[in-house]
């Protein structure tokens, strides 16, 4: 037990902090979930990549700097504390890349990861379908074998695809064996969105940004080289990314400790509004972020001891998503009448409302916690 930071990690922190302060955009970028904002964010992503900070935890050969898990957490803390832009590349970096590291071939890794790190290939997730949301295994998009061409022909409709209208590639699940039910007979594919037969239609999210897209596939050819893992093993391959998505990788605590610090600052700027009720809300929101930070330190220690979080990632997901709403809702209360003005906290609040829904609704997560962590009987 030693909660003191390692000197080498502190040096890493200082280096990250200095670089971020020197390079972060002088003014906040427009939302990365709009076409113009997305382009501005790509500029930033390339600056990050040129500095060697776009994928710190990856091996150097793919554009990373071999940072340890502790250093990665530190980078995320510094990144959020610096108020650096949202990562429009995150679904590739934090969801697809872990899958490639675990299930990809060397050829796939060499071909995809450096381009992903450099923000040349921009990846979106193709899981949800109109009739398959929480019940992902109900998906009906299919892939039919094309032996002559050495690949598959994909047909179906993916939806609520984050930044799908701006990305270049999609990773997704398709049914390759129509005889099989539910989570059997699915395969994990990579699809370039400029392939013949792909139609993408962006649409407005709750906050009005064109952050969602429908992706229609009509007999789209995908070569065997773009199948990840074994044919028919897509569910297992995909579940590897759900762990990343729910847990630490997508939402490390730095994001929330930084938001909590900004909330405390907001309260300090508006002492006239800080009633006893609001002060308690601020303290409890700050405390939720602090608790997540400490929970994560214990979780990372266990991971480094060879004990991966597994179903416990669902605990992270429930906590950070509800915490994010609490932080933003409290800020709106502090803002009073200004809370309806379209500005950072208001936009952040609207985005936070999606947290309990995406990456598997919190109802799904509670079911996983109940059945897999508590051992309660399945229905």
């Amino acid at each position: 037990m030693d909660l003191r930071p390692d000197p080498a990690d502190e040096q890493f922190r200082a280096e990250a902090r200095d670089w971020l302060r020197a390079h972060r955009p002088a003014r906040p970028l427009p939302s990365g979930d709009t076409r113009a904002g997305f382009a501005a964010h790509l500029e930033w992503e390339r600056t990050l990549h040129d500095g060697g900070w776009s994928v710190v935890s990856w091996p150097r050969r793919y554009g990373g700097r071999d940072a340890s898990l502790w250093q990665w957490l530190i980078f995320e803390e510094e990144y959020a504390a610096a108020g650096a832009p949202q990562r429009v590349t995150q679904n590739g970096i934090f969801l697809l890349a872990p899958t490639l590291f675990e299930f990809g071939t060397d050829e796939q890794r060499d071909r995809i990861l450096p381009a992903m790190a450099a923000a040349e290939q921009l990846w979106c997730q193709g899981w949800s379908e109109p009739e398959a949301g929480s019940d992902l295994a109900a998906l009906t998009s299919r892939a039919v074998r094309d032996d002559a061409a050495g690949g598959w022909r994909l047909t179906g409709h993916k939806t609520w695809t984050t930044r799908g209208a701006f990305c270049t590639h999609l990773f997704g699940l398709f049914r390759t064996d129509p005889q099989q039910q539910r989570h059997r007979g699915l395969t994990y594919f990579l699809v370039p969105l400029d392939a013949p037969g792909v139609t993408v239609r962006g649409f407005g999210r709750f906050d009005g940004d064109e952050g969602f897209a429908d992706v229609y596939l009509d007999d789209v050819f995908v070569p065997d080289a773009d199948v990840i893992g074994e044919v028919g093993a897509g569910w297992r391959v995909a579940m590897a990314t759900t762990g990343s998505e729910r847990g630490l990788t997508l939402r490390p605590p730095g994001r929330f400790t930084a938001a909590a610090a900004r909330l405390v600052q907001l309260a300090g700027d508006r002492p006239d509004r800080l009633t006893g009720r609001l002060r308690e809300q601020v303290v409890r929101a700050w405390l939720g972020a602090r608790a997540y930070h400490l929970f994560t330190l214990a979780q990372v220690t266990r991971m480094l001891d060879g004990d991966p979080p597994g179903a416990a990632a669902s605990l992270n997901k429930i906590h950070w998503s509800e915490l994010d709403i609490a932080l933003h809702r409290t800020a709106l209360d502090l803002l009073g009448p200004d809370a309806e003005v379209d500005a950072d906290w208001t936009r952040g609040f609207q985005f936070s409302l999606a947290g309990p829904i995406y990456a598997g609704t919190n109802e799904i997560q509670r079911g996983i916690v109940a059945e897999r962590l508590l051992g309660l009987p399945r229905r």
């Binding site: 037990m1 030693d2 909660l3 003191r4 930071p5 390692d6 990690d9 502790w70 405390v264 309260a267 300090g268 508006r270 002492p271 006239d272 509004r273 800080l274 009633t275 006893g276 609001l278 002060r279 308690e280 601020v282 303290v283 409890r284 700050w286 405390l287 602090r290 608790a291 997540y292 400490l294 929970f295 330190l297 214990a298 990372v300 220690t301 266990r302 001891d305 416990a312 605990l315 429930i318 906590h319 009073g336 009448p337 109802e363 997560q365 509670r366 079911g367 916690v369 109940a370 059945e371 962590l373 508590l374 051992g375 309660l376 009987p377 399945r378 229905r379």
Partner: protein, 348 residues
Amino acid sequence: MRFALTDEQATLRDAVDDLLTAECPPAVVRAGWPGGDPAPLDRLWTALAEMGLLAAMVPESAGGLGLTEVDLVPLLTAAGYAAVPLPLAETAAVAGPLLAAAGDPGGQLAALVEGRCRIAVAGPGGLVPYGQRADLLLLLTPPDGPRLVRPDEVATTPVPTMDGSRAALRLTGDPAVGPSVGTRLDVPADLLALAADRATLAASAQLVGLGRRMLDLTVAHVGTRRQFGAPVGSFQAVQHQLADALLGLELAAPAVLAAGWAAATGADSRPADVSAGYLLAADAAERTARAALQCHGAIGYTTEYDLHLYAKRGWAIVAATAGTDHHLDRLGTAIGLPAATAEQGGRP
């Protein structure tokens, strides 16, 4: 950076778990209730002394284990899980180290180490949980400093409690105990503040343990209890309550351990960390108690079933710990918040 118990800490925790499983089953907790047989309580106290737990934070030179607050957290979590119906936390976490630091002016430390001296601590309002079962009462708030007194040296009256195993006394006399009464412990103010934080930390650790016990009882129950032709634990409405209970406990436990670390290392953040751990642990234990009761249905709402032993202890510990308002206020100040404004709603 390494946030996990050491092998030594885990080994000791496992040993304490084993001891309490054997010596403090629900029947022994019930023995602490009015009319119970005191013999198993005496055996439990002796067993705790033999393991060295009572003097866990007494220096080795004085016969103790010389442990720190961070070592104590898992042990008191285990004590909470078992709902030990004796002033273990008070003796081991508060009185022992304070008495040792004060130089043992009354020569009582050896008896504490050997399990011949139970020390209860007077709480807010002069209520002394376990006072009826204590050999000495520790008064932390007399104006001239803390004082150890025998129960027969001060005016007290027994008080019935919701958790019947608390065996409380209420001090009924002048809180400024005369200089001739008992033993004054000459300790600096910062040590007194540390003792108060240790009491809060001990409460937090026990609350996490109590929460885990209530959750374990409930998981076992809903896995076998059938209604509508299925185990009730297969229903989402039940599953989700218990998932939330687990989440609260899993988030609180690291914060309590971190508070122990802060106390053990003399960190400046100790008051904030102790308050943070307590707020999370109290909230988690209370929410778990509610979920546990609800998911048991009427079966849990009886004194024949064991759940009430642990739920009532949780509420008792929360009541005896300096209030939620105090910890919210202290933590808020520590993170840099201004004081609350009296004006409702503020001006636009």
